[in-house]
Each structure stands twice: as structure tokens, then as C-alpha cells.
């Protein structure tokens, strides 16, 4: 289509505004020298950021979130890698049901997952804490990681694996020398995005942490007090910058090598 459509373009740009502007208020007010978040801005300060560094509970919560995020993203990416390989490589009986089952945690309201895990965990006699949160996050991150990895593996030429096997390499050798390096950008993207999902997740943590707060739980606790809001804004701004960086990195990785791989195969043909 060669025509232009300025009405739609303007609408699209306005929609971008709707998506971005609300998020930008957090960083703007985090430098504002006042306790209330209202216009006009009162003056520039980095005081809220300094306050943020001095909070010990915040450091504890940050550390808890990192621990949960790393464990959940590593386990879910490994599980998702196997599953993605099965869906991308094989046609098998019960494919649709298995796919639906693995994607379910992504569809069911999170509060239901949280409540269900809470009931079983408490009735097994375990203590609430970071372990059940990690289990919940692993469950929740796996479908995301799998979608990313399926997209990566589907563009992959399986004859490369067959060639490796024909040349006498065993299954493990083939995996580590051929498949793994080719999947690697997808694997790293899945790891990063799963980490971000876990890092920002609130509901499961809210029901399952008990007294070990994660970072979103810490923020939730502070949001009720007006005088504590400014340092939550500063923290929020830092998290937004950090998240954006990680996500852009993941998107870039997801596409890296894919074009090159196709070109290589085309050259050989």
C-alpha cells in the first residue's frame, strides 16, 4: 500500500503518549523537592535518592528479589528450553493439550495461583517465605520463556543437528557444540525477561512471602505513608531505568544472529 494515513498516524502517536507519559511521571517527581506529587514542580533535588540508599530494609528486599529472580529465571529457562524444543521439533499426540497446560499459568488470574499455592504450602506444614515465592515465579515465568525460545528454535535448521550426528558426534556433543550456541541469544533473552517478570511480580509474593519482603512488597508497604512516598518514587525511577535497559538488551539479543544464520544457510545453498 502506498498511500499515507495521517489521521491514523496522529492517533498512533497519541496512543504512544498514553502508554509512555504516565510512566514518566515517576522519574520526574523523584527529583521534585516536595512530599506531594503535584504541579508546579517545587525544585530539583537528589535528596530522595540519598534517602533510598540509607534504608536497610530496602537493601534486604532488593537482595531477596535478586535471589528469587535468579533462581526462578534459571530454572524456568531450562524447563522452557526442553519444552520449546519438543514443540518446535516434534509432532506428537496431545501436543495441543500439553501446550495449553504449560501456557495456563499465564492465563489464570494470578491471585488464584497464589491462593492455591498458599493452601498447599501451609497444609504441607512448610513455612511461608522466599521458597514458595520462587516456585510460584518459576511456574509463572516458564510460559514466557517458552514463547521466546519457541520463536528462536522454530527458525532453526534441524539439518545442522543431523549433520553433526552423521559426523559421529553424540547427543550431548551435538547439543553443546551445535544447538546450544545457536540457541544462546534466545536463552539469554529468556533468562533476562524471566528475571524481570519475577523481579517485578507482586501478587504471588504478596500471598507467599510471609515476613521476607521482596522489592515490590517493600514498595507496597511504603506506598501507604505519604511522607515515605518520595523515596519510593526514586526507587521506582531506578527500577524503570534498569528494567528498560534489560528488556532492550533482551530484545536485541533475541534478534541477534538470526539474520546471520539465515544468510549462512543461504550461502551454503
Amino acid at each position: 500500500m502506498n498511500e499515507k494515513n495521517n489521521t491514523l498516524l496522529i492517533y498512533t502517536l497519541l496512543y504512544f503518549g498514553f502508554l509512555y507519559v504516565p510512566v514518566l511521571f515517576l522519574p520526574i517527581f523523584s527529583f521534585n523537592d516536595a512530599n506531594y506529587m503535584s504541579f508546579p514542580l517545587a525544585g530539583f533535588t537528589t535528596e530522595h535518592y540519598e534517602e533510598m540508599w540509607s534504608k536497610r530494609n530496602l537493601h534486604k528486599a532488593l537482595w531477596a528479589s535478586i535471589k528469587v529472580g535468579v533462581v526462578a529465571s534459571v530454572i524456568s529457562t531450562i524447563i522452557a528450553l526442553f519444552a520449546a524444543k519438543a514443540f518446535a521439533r516434534y509432532k506428537f499426540r496431545g501436543e495441543k493439550i500439553s501446550y495449553g497446560g504449560i501456557m495456563m499459568p499465564f492465563l489464570i488470574p494470578e491471585i488464584i495461583l497464589a491462593v492455591a499455592i498458599l493452601i498447599i504450602w501451609v497444609n504441607l506444614g512448610f513455612k511461608l517465605g522466599l521458597v514458595p515465592v520462587t516456585i510460584g515465579h518459576t511456574l509463572f515465568c516458564t510460559p514466557f520463556a517458552m514463547l521466546i525460545l519457541i520463536a528462536r528454535i522454530e527458525g532453526f535448521d534441524f539439518s545442522l543437528e543431523e549433520a553433526s550426528r552423521d559426523l559421529g558426534e553424540n547427543a550431548w556433543g551435538t547439543f553443546f557444540r551445535v544447538s546450544f550456541p545457536l540457541y544462546l541469544p534466545g536463552i539469554v533473552a529468556a533468562l533476562l525477561l524471566s528475571f524481570i517478570i519475577s523481579f517485578d511480580e507482586f501478587i504471588l509474593a504478596f500471598f507467599l512471602t510471609g515476613s521476607d519482603a521482596t522489592l515490590p512488597m517493600y514498595m507496597w508497604g511504603q506506598m501507604r505513608f505519604v511522607q515515605k512516598l518520595p523515596h519510593v518514587l526514586a526507587l521506582g525511577a531506578v527500577i524503570i531505568v534498569f528494567t528498560t535497559f534489560i528488556v532492550l538488551l533482551a530484545f536485541w539479543l533475541r534478534n541477534v544472529g538470526q539474520g546471520k544464520l539465515k544468510k549462512d544457510i543461504a550461502m551454503k545453498l
Partner: protein, 294 residues
Amino acid sequence: MIGFLKKIYAKHDNVKAYSLLSPALILVILAMIVPMALMLSFSMFTQVSMMEIDYTFTFQRYIDFFQKKLLVTLLIKSIKISFLVTLITLITAYPVCYYIAFYVKKNKMLWLVLLTLPFWTSYLLRVFSWKIILGTKGVINSSLINAGILSEPLTFLMYSETAVVITLTHAWAAFALLPLYVSLEKIDFSFIEAGRDLGLSRFEVFWKITFPLSLPGVIGAILIIFIPTVGDYVTPALLGGTDGRMLSNMIQAYFGKINNIPLGAASATIMLTTVVLITIIVSNVTKKLTQRLT
């Protein structure tokens, strides 16, 4: 003989696929299906006192649910809010996806990445930023008062159903944008051109060709927005006040302050069942309607 070999090979593929799938399936079974089954059985128990639960099976909790006016009202309200959010998100996101799919020529992926980027920033923070905007001393009110347009802050903005709907529409945008874009992108443009050549108006082309072809995306978006938003907790808790309260806030109370786990479990079960049933009906009706259109 060849048939026999094929059969064995097919079986072999099944074995290979399921050995790869087993970790994921075990995770889903142990961390989701078994806990949800236990939740279902807890919905048929009775909370006797703070610490004590009577484990004899009864359907009384389900009767309790429908006898409590508050719970039924909150269920209906949750569904209404989710329905509005799904509808508004679809209608507002559709033109954007249409534009990117048919008018943008270079760097479509970049447009798409930029559209979904805000979705990756913390859900809690995005909801919180709407509190900054809509609050009594928030961005909108303080700006309007400063400009001399208002003397009193607009109170309906905050702690209301409207606030919840606006915030959820913003928070779930990415889940409409992605499926809609994918289905619009797949449409062969020659169909649309053919429609125009045959003398159909722009409106007719859209309703008879483009929209029906984008239907998988529409239904996908309905699924992944309507079901999860019914159970949203954060937005109504931060922005809803009493007017915008949803069923999840009560479910949380049953597991916390009120401590009536069976009734909480029954409420959760009813919420999930209702929303799944509605979604099945809505997607079937949408399919039928478009079949009639084309």
C-alpha cells in the same frame, strides 16, 4: 511393512517429545494442578474457628457465596470492569496495530518493541503512576487548579471504578497490541485491494474483509485480557476505593484478616469458573457474528 515402521517412528517421536516436556509438565502438575485441586476441595470444607477447619464435605460455601449480597455484587462488578477494560483496550489498540501493519514500511519491529516496552516496567509502579496522575493532589487536579479552571479537585477521578478501568486499560495494552498486530500483519493485502476493486466502500472492506481476517487476534486478546483482569488485586486496592473494589480484594481478606479459607477458596473457584464460561461464550458469539457478516 512401511506402515508398521511409520507407526513405530511416530511412537518414537511421542516418546522423545514427552521426555523433553516432562519437566514442564511436572512443574505445571505439582505447582498448579494439584494446588488448584486442593483449593477446590478446601472450598467444600468449613472454617470452625480461627485455627480449626472441619474437613467434612459440604456445598454450603457455594450457597454462602450466593447468599452474601456483597460477594455477588463484587463478582458482577469485577466482570463488568474486566469487560469494559477488554472492550476499551481492543477498540483503542486496533487502529494502532492497523497503522503499523499496513502503513509502516520500515522498522516495524522497532515500533512494536517501543509499544510493548512500557509493559515491562513493574506493574505495581505503573498502577502507582496513575495514582500520581488521578489523585486529589495529583497531576490532573493540581494542573487544573493552577490554571484556574477548577477551584475544587475532581474527586471522581480517584478511588472509583473509572480510575480502575483507565489504569487497567493502560496496564494491559500490550496484551491487545501483540495478538492484534500478529493477526493483521498476516492478512494478504491483495484481499483488501480486491475488495476495493470490486467497488466496496472503505467501511464495507473493513467489516467484510479486514475485521473477520483479524479475528484470531481479537479472540486471543479477549482471552488474555478478560480472564486475568477479573482477578486483579493491585489496581482496585490502590485506586478503587470502595466504589472500585473487586472480588479479589475480598478473596484476599478471606485468606488474611477475616480468615475464612473455605469461603475464600469457594469465591476463587466461582470467579474462575464464571470468567472461563463467559470467555468461551464471548469468543463463540464473536466467531458466529463474523461468519454472518462475511
